[in-house]
Symmetry: C2
Subunit: 336 residues, 2 copies
């Protein structure tokens, strides 16, 4: 692959297997982007530890689980480098360096951190590693010299903070050692949970895992939130906020047919059962092959570990080289 | 050397050459301890960067300057391992891990950090790396499995915070992966500056460098603060707060003679000039050989770099091994 393709860095915290929300929000984009971009997927176990320090084994175990999800949805390790964050010391080294370049006040003003602190009820008792997250993310992005970072709308301030650090470093070095990165905000927003809550999350019990059986898919679709006032098929129904339609928008390849269904539903005469049957069929067709590939890969755990070791080895060389360039740019002596 | 000797970790921030205050406060103790302990000296360039990010070249340049001071005073690299912090990635990795184990509130409550924030007038605009210093120091200490850490009285809370992290990690691992460390507070307190201010500091212009010439030593002693009311040699003089006596206490090997001088001075009849001549002679005898060894070593800069590369190589293997033990203790998979 030509080295001048745009470099993408993305990844996931390794706190549990991925689900359909991840598939819509990121995984399928990554599969599409891997042929036209130089893509790195970071299994962010070190980052996951910052707020899971009481259960490190869980974080470690899920490195392979998330890797299985990647491979099962079609990430090709021959073109996408999959690597393990905790095995890339240069990321920690750069994080420490960047922590010298940002103030505590600036970290606390980061809107993403502010929101997360509030959402998790941390107050002043946040783990220090969590407050340092923007510097760690800047280290991840810059170590791979990524120019495109797929993030949700709420994570855009993180990219801005990364670029502040990049500019500060480049100014200090007197030349552009590092490129600035652009946020790549996906067209499709977040997939809601099956209960209609904004976020699909395993811990909230409203997620459909990528390993779901047909029966589990049917059960999840069956309990999906539709329109509580739509009691009989003949009643007019509401499409807005109706989870089944949100999912059809996300998964049905036939947009024209979905628009027709919306018209019928609004007018009355289209029942939830028929709609849900359609969605169930679509999700079975999507998840079935993923589930089967995932199960086959899971039987060869050593093979998956080999894939991760190979990707991590490549990433280690690359991130070390970037660290050395940054050190040289700052006039630091090369001791190693 | 038997591996069961107590392990000492100590070192210096590389912001400038060392001076007589360092000699009294730490260097001469290190020379004495190196034969009975397993001693590691850390050239803390990464730590120095946390509040010198605008002048990284200065931090880097002074790595060799401080190493020259070590070797000139008699640190023997065959028994003491001298190593460069920024070339030990495991220290950054452990710092990041420990930042997950401490809260921001706990870091801010650390008395040493609190005092330093106030002394430097940082307020909320402290570099984040500076707030994270206790976790970084815990990483340094534990990576070498140090059990003794020579520190000033004001740094004792840092060792306490290190031991909190050690206990937390050992509890998590279910066994004593890491030893706790003890502070080794030197018998001699801090050497005051030649102007009588509590702290000798190059930036305050009240320091005697270890490379001072005889003329520079005489000039520094000449301007030493004595007793402003002691105008004539025949007047009674004060010994307390008299810098010349503080220095005689620190450097004169003949304690009985110094007590006699104090009596004479208090009674009247002993002039500042005679006293200062005695101190000048002592300091010339002490600094002269150090200065000459330092100058000779400085002419073989590559030789010094070789010493640091060898020490850093040994330290790298050791700190990586500790990181691996900690990761294993936490149940993290060994990817590297």
């Amino acid at each position: 692959m030509p080295p001048d393709r745009p470099v993408i860095l993305t990844g996931d915290r390794t706190t549990g297997p991925l689900h359909l929300g991840h598939y819509v929000g990121s995984l399928r984009n990554r599969v599409a982007l891997q042929s036209s971009h130089r893509q790195f997927l970071l299994l962010a176990d070190a980052q996951a530890l910052t707020d899971n320090a009481d259960d490190p084994a869980r974080v470690s175990r899920n490195v392979v689980e998330v890797a299985l999800d990647y491979l099962a949805v079609g990430i090709d390790p021959a073109v996408t480098t999959i690597c393990v964050q905790s095995a890339l010391p240069a990321l920690a080294e750069l994080t420490m360096l960047y922590l010298s370049l940002v103030t505590v006040a600036r970290l606390e003003r980061n809107p993403t951190i502010k929101d997360e602190i509030q959402a998790r009820g941390f107050g002043r008792d946040i783990p220090a590693g969590f407050l340092c997250y923007p510097a760690a993310q800047a280290a991840d992005i810059t170590a791979f010299k990524a120019t495109l970072v797929p993030v949700g709308e709420d994570q855009v301030p993180m990219i801005e903070q990364t670029n502040e650090i990049v500019r500060r470093l480049n100014r200090q070095a007197g030349r552009a050692v590092l490129p600035e990165a652009k946020a790549l905000v996906p067209r499709h927003g977040r997939l809601p949970g099956v209960d209609g809550r904004a976020k699909m999350s395993k811990s909230q019990g409203n997620a459909i895992p990528l390993s779901a059986s047909d029966a589990e898919i049917d059960a999840a679709v069956h309990r999906m939130y539709t329109d509580p006032d739509h009691l009989r098929a003949s009643d007019p129904g509401r499409v807005e906020g109706n989870v089944v339609f949100t999912y059809l928008d996300a998964f049905d390849p036939d947009a024209v047919a979905v628009e027709a269904l919306k018209r019928d539903y609004r007018r009355g005469g289209l029942g939830d059962v028929a709609l849900k049957r359609r969605l169930s069929g679509l999700l079975r067709d999507l998840i079935g092959p993923i589930r089967e590939r995932r199960a086959a890969l899971a039987r060869d755990r050593d093979g998956v570990i080999d894939v991760l070791r190979a990707g991590t080895g490549r990433a280690r060389a690359l991130t070390r080289a970037t660290r050395d360039e940054i050190h040289a740019g700052l006039g630091l002596f090369a001791w190693a």
